[in-house]
Symmetry: C2
Subunit: 733 residues, 2 copies
């Protein structure tokens, strides 16, 4: 059989989609509760669909324009891969489709979760979690199905083509997924925080009504925002990482084993097979998640962890088996790379939990500082966030080193050897695949968060009893913890994926050089010329002078670092401006209709959703253009060496900055909750007021800018890959 | 004559010291004002000397231990340059001496400035600015005198030694300067903000007494802190950059012209000569700084700018002349590099002014956001700070590229050519020297700030009339603007200096390899072996695999980025903790003696100074150890390639992060002042309260962590250079 094991990937994808459909149907059958609950749910659902509709309309235009551009470059000027225009649209479409299913499920599930919470905690958890699993399974199912389909198709159509060409062609699928993720994550991130901040500033602070009060016109937008950010945004982000890592691994596998066809095909299908197994065992993990009535927060968290950890262990065992059956070379090396990735993911998750959960010292110390006022809580949150970058960065560094060492067959004494470097880089990409192999279930626990949050909002607005609210609160609080660790996981996997994409960039350049007629690489320093086809990665590095003493490379590293900060600053600013529009709208509604605050007139929820939507779409333009233009411009001005410098600078700084922003934000959030639980004076104490300021500052950090950086680092890589042909054709250096 | 022009350097240094002595004597002769003024001045002076005494005692121990360690490594194991133990102590000693003179002058000058302000604005400006010039001239004088002395001595003692060996030996002088800068800048930064925050929190907020009130026990410590941070700290930072850039340029010059002895010596002395000319023309610039009574803020700023800008223009003209006389190759290239550096410095200064002065949109928009409360002003300050990184980074990038292009003789078509790369890197180092050539006068305007600030404090505490206070306020406000632009200049020059040090690292490695007996570089990828002596920089890059696809290099770039954040988080945390001790002490004094608040009992100022001193010394231990250990550990574990990756990652991220922190902090500070001038409700409005929180958050950003990053990026480079022998000897990779 051997390479026929490839079929594990599409079959597992279909099974994932079937389970998603099954969970969806089960959820829809559940009781939706009272009329009021239904009505509120309806509002949120309509808002969410209105948001998606608007986003997809804008995307249709953008995708159309870019696709035409790509078509001109590809078919007119012959500078791009011929498949790019098609795979580009396909990648975007399926990512958007996954987002649509996830949002639809989440918004249907929240009322049902609230309704189930009237009966029991366990029942509510089951509804919420399995609905979250719909998103998880749809993302991995659609992602892997597409990859298998394109791989199969391109190979069928070009049966004699080298696998390097086939895999680098399929790699272009990532460009569409990446652009859609930009809309979902950056636009969504701005939407959710604009609505949140707007609702809080006028509702809580000015009008003095509680959170989730139906009299607040922005409250529905706020609830929609939770779904937009943590379901659609997170889903698109991870869809991109998932596909990107598998595609990059396939391309690097093909490159690492050039000249050994039997092994090459195995190296290419291995990441798909591992992903397929990961899907199946994620589904198994879903069944480990259950709880009993009156469970404590810790028990709830344990039951979620049990699901994810069991999946991880099962995947490790199964991967060893299937790699043996596949008969890949360096079995234990590839397996070690998978393990490195899985362990790195778990370490990052634990570190994130340590730095952002109020059960541990860092967040407690931030809460303590709240007693000194707003300034001291901000300062301590910033310092904790910055210090918290150490463990995730070291984890990724060690994980990367281990994966490289394993991938290279446990011998890296001669890096200049063509095989060592390529195989090691393949190992790094396999680590990314390994880390993301549990995505089916980890994303379930991410998407679970907003469902539980919205269920709580629904229970509040529908005046359900205190015991219901208590249950939804418990589920919501659990969701906050999983949201923080989920962010850590998303960042870590984005960093590994970007690293894998960076490594595969050179393979794409090689193909473009060959297509462009460059048969030999002629070195300028007296090294012997080598054929482009047989050049090692080190030859390419020498050819393009990609060393750290080349000022072009150095300058571009600087620029990459700066772009991460600039992008981040622009997204933070965007939230501020979009929130300002929301504040004005809510004030206007209160002013123009006295009945709203009295509760006799229903506010215009839809208008708030639409304002946030339009604001987010508008505000994401400038940062998005920067993310797309900079790698293209650097490629045209500085050539291949500059692009690699840019990607490394952006990746290194963006990764660390994202961890800092996410963890600071998460820690402030939980410090506030810790005070609300009655510590340091409890609610309405001066410490609480200070902590609210900390939380508000942290909101755009953790929900807009931090996650947007995941997109930036991957998008810059994928743009560079997509435009490699143009860079090679136009470059003067 | 030609290379005899070298003598311009020591002669100019001596002239600088003579002028410094002259200005000092003139200042001491000025009237010191009333008895109360004298007494307060006495307190601050005693506090400052107590701080310095304590710092120097700790340094004596640390320097002693490190010197012994170096001696063992150098004389016992033969792993280090034989001169290092001696030059190390010397570099530290003279940097400390410059700090001592500067502090002594500044603390003597503030009372005299206040006294002069009773008469006229122009007189007060003259006293303050010329006293600032003492610091500026002492730093450049002692720095350049030492460099010339060591260069002369080492050359005399080893008349036949290659200039590369001579210059890399003298380069070790930077290690001592760097370690002393660590104490002065990081320890000083923690001291100044601990005192400031402590004084404000208890004095202003709890006890409700105004700033600079003599009843506040921490007020003297606060005034001492201004001197500690902006005189001693800034001075040591720039002493290090100044020496580092000249030394690196000399080393790179020697390397670039190996084999052409006539030219080599010219390239080595050129940076010293340019620095010497810079000193002389800085002194000329001092005489352009004058103003008339009732000058507006803008006119005051103009008169300072006039001094600096005239110096810059004169230096450009004179440099062209002297380079002709020197008869250096590629005259216009070297001159172009000087110009690139000077222009980069000016652009960074202007950009900093734009982003931090309340005359421009960014800071005004932050003040506007204060109306929304503390959270919105923090968010907008963060976003402005992040966006503000774009121009300085682009300026340094373009300046670096231009300097490289000029240095390489306007032809970079063949980077692999040994000459092109070395000469280009020499150009980059020359740009750093050019940027810092105006240091005599730019540092004068930095050191002027705390003198004016303290003069204001003295006037307040001594109950001088409102017209005096008005004059000192005008001078103080000017000092705030120069402080912000001075920080930008310090960061930019630190980045360029670090870049030059990074480039010279490889030259040091070469010497160590030769000393260690490695006569040939044998490549592992089939390239022909070359002799270590004749190897090009590109050969070294190939030998050590310093390409961006080498995972070791990549991982170390990640770690470098992370260390910048970690270091920063630790210093922010340090301020919080040290300020906590100060708060307790002030509370204790108020509690234990009723007379203090009544004004009948003098508080124990000295104890506050001592608490801040001890706190700062203690809190700087952990971040300092990290800054020193990481490059050594990376060298031992990952070898030369890892070290270069680490330095690049730390430099890129540290530079951008420092700009962000400094500009955010500066903008918050001025937004607060803008509101205090009566905008958005003026003093005691809710907007003002919010802006005070912004300013408090910004304090450690701009005065501790941001400036500390300057030290980090240079210190890591110089540690790597000093330990190159150990890295080469021990490295397994």
């Amino acid at each position: 059989m051997n390479e026929q094991l490839f079929w594990v990937a599409p079959v597992a994808s279909l099974i994932a989609l079937a389970f998603a459909a099954y969970y969806f149907k089960q959820m829809v059958k559940c009781d939706e509760g009272t009329d009021l609950m239904r009505k509120i749910g309806q509002h949120v659902r309509e808002g969410a669909m209105a948001y998606l509709g608007q986003q997809y309309r804008v995307m249709l235009v953008v995708f159309g324009v870019v696709a035409i551009l790509f078509a001109v470059l590809a078919y007119g000027l012959g500078m791009l891969n011929q498949w790019l225009p098609v795979t580009f649209i396909c990648g975007g479409f399926f990512s958007a489709l996954a987002g649509y299913f996830g949002m639809r499920t989440a918004t249907l599930a929240s009322t049902r979760t609230a309704a189930a919470a009237r009966e029991s905690l366990g029942g509510a958890l089951k509804v919420a979690f399995r609905s979250g699993a719909v998103m998880g399974l749809v993302v991995v199912g659609l992602g892997l199905l597409n990859i298998s389909f394109w791989f199969f198709l391109v190979r069928k159509l070009q049966p004699d083509a080298d696998l390097v060409i086939v895999t680098t062609t399929v790699l272009t699928f990532g460009m569409g997924a990446s652009l859609q993720a930009l809309f979902a994550r950056v636009g969504g991130g701005i939407f959710t925080k604009a609505a949140d901040v707007g609702a809080d500033l006028v509702g809580k602070v000015e009008a003095g009504i509680p959170e989730d009060d139906p009299r607040n016109p922005a409250t529905i937008a706020d609830n929609v925002g939770d779904n937009v950010g943590d379901v659609a945004g997170m889903g698109a982000d991870l869809f991109e990482s998932y596909c990107g890592s598998i595609l990059a691994a396939a391309a690097l596998g093909a490159a690492a084993y050039v000249g050994n066809e039997a092994m090459q095909i195995k190296a290419v299908v291995a990441p798909m097979i591992i992903a397929g197994i990961g899907i199946l065992l994620s589904i198994v993990g879903v069944y480990f998640v259950r709880t009993k009535e009156g469970a404590t927060q810790k028990q709830l968290l344990k039951s979620l962890s049990l699901g994810i950890d069991s999946s991880a262990v099962l995947i490790l065992v199964a991967a060893a088996g299937i790699l043996h059956v596949l008969g890949i070379d360096n079995i234990w090396g590839v397996w070690g790379a998978v393990a490195s990735g899985l362990i790195t993911g778990i370490v990052i998750g634990k570190a994130t939990e340590y730095y952002t959960s109020s059960s541990y010292k860092p967040t407690m110390s931030i809460a303590e500082q709240a007693k000194g006022g707003a300034a001291t809580i901000i300062i301590s949150g910033v310092s904790v966030g910055m210090i918290s970058t150490a463990v995730p960065v070291l984890a990724v560094s060690i994980g990367t080193a281990a994966a490289f060492f394993c991938g290279a067959g446990f011998d890296i004494s001669n890096l200049a050897d063509a095989g060592t470097l390529s195989k090691g880089l393949y190992g790094i990409a396999i680590a990314a695949v390994g880390m993301l192999s549990t995505l089916g279930i980890t994303l379930a626990s991410d998407a679970y968060g907003p469902i539980a949050d919205n269920a709580g909002g629904n229970a509040e607005m529908s005046n359900l009893g205190p015991e219901v609210r208590e249950r939804t609160d418990a589920l919501d609080s659990l969701g906050n913890t999983t949201a923080a660790t989920g962010k850590g996981f998303a960042i870590g996997s984005a960093a590994l994926t970007a690293l894998a994409l960076l490594a595969s960039y050179i393979e794409v350049v090689r193909i473009e050089l060959i297509n462009g007629g460059t048969k030999m690489l002629e070195f300028s320093n007296g090294m012997e010329a080598v054929t482009t086809k047989d050049a090692t990665l080190m030859d390419f590095m020498a050819y393009y002078n990609v060393t750290l003493l080349n000022p072009v490379v150095l300058i571009c590293v600087f620029i990459g670092s700066m772009v991460a900060f600039l992008f981040c600053g622009l997204t933070v600013q965007a939230v501020g401006r979009a929130a300002g529009l929301m504040v004005e709208e809510v004030r206007r509604q209160f002013r123009e209709s006295d009945g709203i605050l009295k509760g006799t007139v229903e506010p215009d929820y839809a208008r708030c959703v639409s304002i946030s939507t339009v604001g987010a779409q508008k505000e994401m333009i400038v940062p998005s253009i920067i993310a797309i233009i900079v790698p293209i411009a650097v490629g045209l001005i500085f050539g291949v060496g500059g692009v690699i410098g840019l990607l490394v600078g952006g990746l290194a700084t963006g990764f660390v900055l994202a961890v800092f922003l996410s963890n600071s934000g998460g820690a402030w959030d939980n410090a506030k909750k810790f005070i609300e639980e009655g510590n340091h004076g409890g609610k309405s104490s001066p410490a609480h007021k200070a902590s609210v300021i900390g939380d508000t500052v942290g909101d755009p950090f953790k929900d807009t800018s931090g996650p947007s950086l995941n997109i930036l680092i991957k998008l810059m890589s994928i743009v560079a890959i997509a435009m490699a042909g143009v860079t090679v054709a136009m470059s003067l250096i």
